[in-house]
């Protein structure tokens, strides 16, 4: 499924956050949203998911306006992976995944054998079948993130929207989650994610949008978009983009200029 936004304006009543956002992502693509804190990534996500109304422009799913689709209809098209979070009650991980099936159930229905099948398959696909009966509240941050991704898979949507899926994860879990994301896109899903790490955009992104103060500053393939100039405009520090011997691209902030600007912040 192709997700597109046309001249989208985001925000809340009386408070505009983003303007003129035009983006697109199709099957097999990973669109990475990159931008500093407060650049409007979360607000954009909420608008993409229809959780808050757009303040102008439109969100299109395969050319159809998201507009006022019923919630269940949206949830059968877009799955949302929130940041690994705490929930107040100790549900078993499998039950959290099973909740992904809700949009496919009637109002008064309970999940049946087919839904449980889907939940187990989603857990197995991410290699965490052994977590099924464990309390979600007792899992580590990385395990929770994987469970939430499994829930999105159980939702069986063509489109995945992930809010900073690597935030609060350790080095190893970041790599695992990134590998899963690349695998999901290779399987034909459309993935939109936000991240704070340009390296992650280089690693899994097929397209990158650089958000700055609510506007899309640059948009396109990572190599063409994440230039040292663009990155230093957005983040306010000098950045070098280098190609490693193994063929990966990495971003290196210049600690000297960063320290100088940090000193500026302190003054």
């Amino acid at each position: 499924m192709r997700l597109a936004t046309k001249a989208l304006a985001t925000g809340y009543r009386g408070r505009s956050v983003g303007r003129d956002i035009t983006l697109t992502a199709g099957p097999g693509e990973v669109l990475c949203l990159l931008g500093p804190n407060g650049s409007g990534k979360t607000t954009l996500f909420k608008t993409l998911l229809g959780l808050i109304p757009s303040q102008g422009g439109e969100v299109l799913l395969d050319g159809m306006p998201l507009g006022r689709l019923p919630r269940a209809e949206i949830a059968r098209k877009i799955a949302y992976v929130p940041q690994a979070h705490a929930i107040p009650f100790a549900f078993p991980a499998e039950e959290v995944v099973l909740m992904g099936r809700t949009a496919r159930l009637g109002t008064f229905a309970q999940p049946g054998p087919r839904d449980q099948e889907a939940a187990r398959a989603a857990l197995a696909r991410l290699g965490i079948a052994d977590l099924a009966t464990q309390d979600y509240t007792r899992l580590s941050g990385g395990q929770r993130q994987l469970v939430l991704i499994a829930r999105a898979l159980a939702q069986e949507t063509p489109l995945l929207v992930m809010d900073e899926p690597t935030a609060s994860l350790d080095f190893g879990n970041q790599a695992k989650v990134l590998a899963e994301i690349a695998g999901l896109a290779a399987g034909g899903l459309t993935v939109v994610l936000s991240t704070h790490d340009p390296d992650h955009a280089f690693a899994v992104g097929t397209r990158v949008a650089l958000l700055h103060a609510g506007n899309v500053l640059a948009e396109g393939p990572p190599d063409a978009t994440l230039t040292p100039q663009a990155l230093s405009t957005v983040y306010g520090i000098d950045v070098t983009v280098e190609r490693t011997a193994s063929g990966r691209t990495v971003c290196l902030p210049h600690l000297g200029t960063a320290m100088a600007s940090a000193a500026g912040v302190r003054r």
Binding site: F91, M99, A109, P113, Q116
Partner: protein
Amino acid sequence: MGERARALTPRSGLAVALLVAALPLLALAALLIGPFPLSPGEALAVLWRSATGTLAEGDRAATVLLSIRLPRVAAALLVGAALAAAGACYQTLFRNPLVSPDILGVSAGAGLGAVLGIFLSLPVAAIQLMGFAGGLAAVALVGFVAAAVRTGDRTLVLVLAGVVVGALTGAATSLLKVLADPYDQLPAITFWLLGSLAGIKTEDVLPAAPVVLLGLVPLVLLRWRINVLSLGDEEARSLGIEAGRLRLAVICCATLVTASAVAIAGVVGWVGLVIPHVARMLVGPGFGTLLPVAALLGAAYMLVVDTLARTVSGAEVPLGILTAVVGAPFFLWLLARGRRAWA
């Protein structure tokens, strides 16, 4: 069902089976115990005479069993189940295990309505009706205020509006207590505000039961969605639930259930707060199993407490006092055993 099988470990399954088996036995015992003790044989004989229409005029055993104890036992089961079920709903809805069924002011409103009825020296049925109406009115007012405040977190606004309306109705109730006749009305008011099933009749229980059922049925039907709603509004919506509409439905149903319980029993604290909690320790947080187990447990607990209330001393002890005295140490003991407390 798979969902149930996962939520119930063998041990908690045993606990639920014991509970289901114990409830009729408890009810039977409660029917026999009291200042006029009956043997099981006598009780059966009374039932036989009643069924065959051969009850004699002035049959004391029949009067005690059928007119006094049976409605009272039925009322205790009904009120306990209602309060515990409503508590389980609100705790899941507000994602907080410290919430009780009167969080949105239903008890305060019902209290004001009933106290006004007592103050005006209305008949018992009218007092109950005013209690019921007062509870519904208070929650409606809370909903109206929360809808009028269009900023901020919906849940937080709702809870704060509940606190405000509760404080205002509490003040009005206190004013009526000051104005009430200290010899006749004030004891009745105090007793009502602490909860009691003393003197309850069949015609008090009969109208309340269908209303409680009317509130419980949608909650049972919506159990999976209420489960999902415990993840919070935004996430529930991203999973395909119209969170605002569902929350409204749950609040309406739980208010109906609580208001009818409060109308016949007065304000009985503690049950709606602690019983869902104990139920969660037994069977986990899955709402589909939590709701019926909480209702069963609440019914059993209220039955025991009410039987104590009419037998421990010559005079009736208010329920609110006993629910706390019996419940608090038990709850502490549970906590001290270190089972997953808030889970």
